[in-house]
Amino acid sequence: MTELITALGVVFSPMPFLFIVVGVVLGIVVGAIPGLTGAMLIALTLPLTFFMVPVEAIILLIAMYVGAISGGLITATLLRMPGTPAAVMTTFDGYPMARAGHPGRALGLGIGASFVGGMVSWTALFLLAKPLSIIATRFGPFEYFALIMMAMVLIASVSEGSLVKGLIAGLLGMLISMPGVDPSSGMPRLTWDWYMLNGGLKLLPVLIGVFAVSQILSDLMEMNQKIQKVEMSRKGIFMSLDDWRKQAFNLIRSSVIGTGVGILPGIGASIGSVIAYTAAKNMSKTPEKFGKGSEEGIVSSEAANNATVGGALIPLISMGIPGSVIDAILIGALTIHSIQPGPTLFTTNADIVWAMIAACLVANIVMFIFMTTFVGHLSKVMYMPRLYVLPVVLIFCVIGSFALNNTMFDVWTMVAFGILGLFLEKARYPLGPFVIGFVLAPLGEAKLRSGLMMTDGDITPVFTRPLAASFTVIAVILLVYPFYSEWQQKRKADLG
């Protein structure tokens, strides 16, 4: 508790607090503009943090994370276009309610639910991160390797699209991380005798390419799509006491689901909101209202997607495993600032960890105040023509990639991965597993090889040590179950 109070003191000092406000506002604005995502914002902001104090840099990025997840609500409700992928489920009920003449109420329910979701997951972050990190310090290399493999399968199996495509994307991310000097032997590997590849492909240009450039190109292709919009009104922006009472159980359930999904390595806000929405619909007394402007639908989706933020920070802080794509970028940010993510973070960089936890809390409160006060003005941002926004973002992509090492090689890398990302996206390969594979592969390989050195080439501890075996079994079940389920459905259809 003392550490948290100290960290809150840091967060409330002028500069960090300013960064929180700026981060939340930018996050909300970017989240509200269709086509721009939180991952894109954070990847583009990363180069600007090189010259900042690490604590302030991480605080800024966390604030953006919270803001970006929340901002998607505005577009989802008023345009039927999710500003961020996490707000997809909100479109189902937010837009019909807004269209029925209650846009303020739809937004009010969403903002209130986002706040509660954020607070519940923050509580879990505060209570669980440290104990989990203590448990994680007992992990040996085989446990870590099995955990990373389980995370990879988990990400692939719950990503949009087919399991096979998720697995391909994850493996491709792993493969792309391989060129460079082999950390174990010190010899160049997969460099084609090209000295520029000796340092490997850097995370930042790959991220900017895959998430920002590919998104820009994709948006440009769809610039002619007509949007359906609703006029904004602030009436009903505050939830009444009766609303809080009626939605209390839904709020808590959805927040807990969101937090739980966030904790699972590699799964982001989109899945959290889908599960919470489905649970709310299944348990509702009026399931027929879902998809037609149901209050429960908006509340469940928004509480869950905001709850994944705090939840996803738990594996990041306690084990160095990203809970979502944005967390993978945050791992990159920590590494750039010479901070090694992992279970020892609480002992080596306690100030950073507690600042992250405190920033998550304060950013959530700032988000609630800002969204409630300025939602009317924010709704105008989303009508900003993409014709002007996209070229500007493109310039920031080039600057962001170049600023890492002052080399044009990184800019070309960004372009190449932008094109690859576009192709992958158009063929419905999820990009989340790609990035998480890219981030986790070096760690997974290092753990496997150090484990094999310890056992003289014997891999059986992956199956015999209790924790490693549990992770392996879960991974196998996750891998086999979709195929088994598909086979059963096919069999039923044949019999029918």
């Binding site: 180069p47 600007l48 090189f50 010259f51 096979v164 495509k165 697995l167 391909i168 493996l171 491709l172 792993m174 493969l175 391989m178 082999d182 174990s184 032997s185 010899m187 590997r189 997969l190 084609w192 190109l217 994709s218 440009l220 292709m221 769809e222 610039m223 002619n224 799509q225 007509k226 014709l387 002007y388 996209l390 070229p391 500007v392 493109l394 310039i395 080039v398 600057i399 170049f402 600023a403 002052n406 044009m408 800019v411 070309w412 372009v415 932008g418 576009l422 192709f423 992958l424 158009k426 063929a427 390969y429 390989e445 496997l448 090889r449 150090s450 094999l452 050195m453 003289d456 080439g457």
Partner: protein, 156 residues
């Protein structure tokens, strides 16, 4: 698209697989540098073959049992030309700076203005805004990044 992307990935993985073939075995540890990238390549290639076969079977089924989308519900077709123009513009922009033909501020002004002009179909109002935005981005970013953030810019 499925077949094209899967084939592209097979080509990429084959290049990686070929390059990883000559990697020496480990001296201090049993695994060495090669087996992990080799395993990943083989897995990706196998799964891409599966994706291609599945896509072919699906296409064959669609041909034999077409399910057309009614014209009124059909979404607007995408415009790949927009993406190609922006991509080409970006490559020229990066080349101009990499070869020190144009400094960052000037290249940025030209790129922003020309992209907005082309994408708007040379609409006069959009071109005015594009020119203003180009000046703002070129001069503004040059000042912001070099004088305030102390970040080097390409082409400088």
């Amino acid at each position: 698209m499925d077949t094209f992307v899967a084939t592209l990935l097979i080509v990429i993985c084959s290049v990686f697989l070929y390059e990883s073939w000559d990697l020496p075995p480990g001296t201090f540890e049993p695994l060495g540098s090669g087996p992990i990238p080799q395993t990943i390549c083989v897995l990706i290639i196998a799964m891409c073959v599966y994706v291609i076969v599945r896509a072919w079977r699906r296409d064959a089924q669609i041909i034999s049992d077409p399910d057309p989308v009614p014209a009124a519900e059909a979404p607007e077709p995408p415009r790949p030309l927009n993406a190609i123009i922006v991509l080409a513009g970006t490559v020229i922009y990066i080349l101009a700076m990499a070869l020190h033909i144009l400094p960052f501020w000037l290249a940025t002004m030209v790129l922003v203005f020309s992209l907005i002009a082309i994408l708007s179909g040379f609409n006069r109002k959009s071109m005015m805004i594009g020119a203003l935005l180009g000046v703002l981005m070129g001069a503004g970013c040059q000042y912001l990044f070099t004088q305030i953030f102390y970040v080097d810019l390409p082409g400088s």
